[in-house]
């Protein structure tokens, strides 16, 4: 089974700081990691390979340093890494990103399954996975929490819902996005880390991919980020001091004032 796992490098923090002037994320001083949800995608890909044979190719789009994320995936058992990297792709929204990645996937060649994490921890859009399947015109199943049965031709999966789950059968090739309930990602092995260190990462620039120049990067992105901001922190409130009966009386007065 030939599997492509799409991953993203994200800042290792849940509280991303924003530059208020440029409306962009402040990345300086923040360590980059593989998007946590993508770790489950890598693990599931490696497990399927161990069961069916074949190959796992990890794919990411990003700056040159995103190569580190591909190497980490290789240390966990993926076979090859492909980095989509070109200034021309800068400013891509989820539509342009999924279009560009679908172009890279066509370039990689025949595949049976594409696996993505359900969403990235920085943007939280959950759109790139479904976008890729749309551009490639293949079936998609999002929020997969279990692969019940897989053959070379089809797959039956459990799709997580708010209450319970759906069982969906899809022909292959298809794209799935996975949730954290699907597995427990392994730690890398030393042999994997050594292989990752020397692995050759193929980079795709705009010229390597068959893409419409109007549909990539900032100009191919219908989404415009008008404003991005951190919600103001709540102000301190009022501390009442003194003995308990005294505080209670004050509190009652304050509530009464508020009501009137």
């Amino acid at each position: 089974m030939n599997i492509i796992v799409c991953i993203k490098q994200v800042p290792e923090t849940t509280e991303v700081r924003i530059n208020p002037e440029t409306n962009t994320l402040i990345r300086e001083g923040v360590k980059s990691i593989i998007n946590p949800f993508d770790m489950y995608a890598i693990e599931e890909g490696v497990r399927l390979k161990e069961k069916f044979g074949g190959k796992v190719t990890v794919l990411t789009m990003g700056p040159p340093q995103a190569e580190a994320a591909l190497r980490e995936a290789i240390s966990m058992g993926a076979d090859e890494g492909r980095l989509v990297c070109d200034r021309a792709f800068a400013g891509s929204d989820t539509w342009a990103t999924s279009y560009t990645l679908s172009g890279a996937i066509k370039r990689i060649g025949a595949f049976d399954l594409i696996i993505c994490g359900k969403q990235a921890s920085d943007g939280d859009t959950a759109q790139v996975g479904p976008g890729i399947s749309t551009h490639l015109d293949i079936p998609q199943v999002t929020y997969v929490k279990k692969i019940e049965e897989a053959t070379e031709k089809s797959m039956r999966v459990e799709r997580m819902m708010e209450e319970g789950f759906e069982i969906i059968e899809t022909p292959l090739p298809a794209l799935i996005t996975v949730v954290k309930e699907i597995n427990e990602p392994r730690l890398p092995s030393l042999k994997g880390m050594m292989r990752a260190k020397s692995a050759k990462i193929t980079t795709y620039a705009q010229k390597d991919l068959d893409l419409d120049p109007q549909s990539i990067g900032l100009c191919g992105s219908p989404t415009q980020v008008v404003k991005i901001f951190t919600p103001p922190q709540r102000t301190g409130g009022q501390m009442l001091q003194g003995e308990v009966p005294e505080i209670a009386a004050k509190l009652v007065d304050l509530i009464k004032d508020e009501v009137h």
Partner: protein, 383 residues
């Protein structure tokens, strides 16, 4: 301090650190209470290739390196000295096969040990033969193509959970220490059973059991090296494994120091953090300095072994003795910094004191280490 480790060694340290933080620390207290063998963690360590760190590549390992073994052991021990010793004791059972095994023995046993599919153990200690290893009573009598083992080993780390055992038994009692031989015994061999599991003060995640041999018949080809080589096998093995025990002590000390610094910063008394008091700072400074000195000694010794230096008994004894004495002192001081809270089992620090103590005792008490160092000094002077 920068020890100028190679990229590969940094990788080992990084991965061992990750395993320690993500897989060992969260379960350390659980196994300390339950005393179960931590098979789930052993599997993670095995899958990470760490069991192959000191085994030659031709037998499925990553190459012989005591430095690498020490790096992994130090990192694991920072999180739990008990789980770390399950790993290090397997190395102790593997090293004699690596050093003295013939080609068939190495091919038969090392690949599974390198992959962590099996865990090993080393058995020399008996109820009446601790520091005085020449008092061993277990016998191995040759009968045709077999040896018949009879006797009792006790305090054997990984006993009962290991699959592969290297056991020292007397083949010729009349020759004293020169009448001892080393044998490979597999779990499941008829006549080889396990006695009681010890209820220990520390390193409670590791198993310690008696090995019982009652007319245990093993093939003659399980003899390691030659008859009469038992003590040479033991001494050469200990020379290589002692830096590993030292690294265990070092990791325990380092882990305790980190907890103490963190606690000292958090704990408020007299309106400020206790880390602002010079009394606390001086304690922490002494702890950190002694730990660094131990680390420098251990990795110098490990590098000497890896570089092929033959006469390392004195240095490896120094590393083991010094690091374990430091671990005992540092853990006690770390608990002192925690004050009354440190004495309570709700806090992790008392376990470090309990885990540290054994490092002054096993693989040769620190008094025996001093004997080794002293004798070597006199020998060197006589040259």
């Amino acid at each position: 301090m920068d020890y100028l480790f190679t990229d590969e060694q940094k990788m080992i340290k990084e991965l061992a650190h990750k395993i320690a933080e993500e897989k060992i620390r969260p379960v350390a207290a659980k196994y300390d209470i339950s005393e179960e063998y931590p098979w789930d963690v052993i599997k993670v360590i095995a899958d990470s290739d760490m069991f192959g760190l000191f085994i030659p590549e031709e037998y499925g390992g990553l190459g012989v390196s005591i430095t690498n073994l020490c790096l992994a052991t130090e990192e694991f021990s920072r999180a739990c000295g008990g789980i770390a010793v399950c790993y290090a004791a397997s190395a102790l059972g593997t090293i004699p096969i690596m050093l003295f095994g013939n080609e068939e023995q190495k091919k038969k046993y090392l690949p599974d040990l390198a992959k962590g599919k099996k865990v090993a153990a080393f058995g020399i200690t008996e109820p009446e033969a601790g520091s005085d290893a020449s008092a061993i009573k277990t016998t191995a009598k040759k009968e045709g193509n077999h040896y018949i083992l009879n006797g009792l080993k006790h305090f054997i780390t990984n006993g009962g959970d290991a699959e592969t055992y290297v056991v020292i038994a007397m083949t010729d009692k009349t020759r004293g220490a020169r009448g001892a031989s080393a044998f490979i015994v597999e779990k499941g061999t008829h006549g080889f059973t396990f006695g009681k599991k010890e209820d220990k003060f520390g390193i409670r995640a590791s198993s310690t059991r008696e090995l019982v041999f009652q007319d245990c018949k093993i093939p003659a080809e399980n003899l390691l090296s030659k008859e009469g080589m038992g003590f040479i096998v033991t001494m050469r093995t200990f020379d290589m494994s002692r830096p590993g025990v030292a690294a265990q002590a070092l990791g325990i000390a380092q882990g305790a120091l980190e907890l103490a610094v963190k606690y000292a910063k958090e704990r408020q008394q007299f309106g400020k953090s206790i880390s602002s008091f010079q009394g606390i700072q001086w304690m922490l400074a002494d702890m950190a300095t002694e730990i660094e000195a131990a680390r420098a000694l251990i990795y110098s010794c490990a590098r000497a072994i890896d570089a092929g230096c033959k006469d390392v008994s004195k240095e490896s004894a120094m590393a083991k003795m010094y690091a374990s004495d430091v671990a005992m002192k540092v853990t006690v001081d770390a608990l002192q910094i925690f004050g009354g809270y440190g004495y309570m089992k709700d806090y992790p620090i008392e376990k470090y004191v309990r885990d540290a103590k054994i490092t002054q005792i096993y693989e040769g008490t620190n008094q025996i280490q001093r004997n080794i160092i002293g004798l070597q000094l006199i020998r060197e002077m006589a040259k």
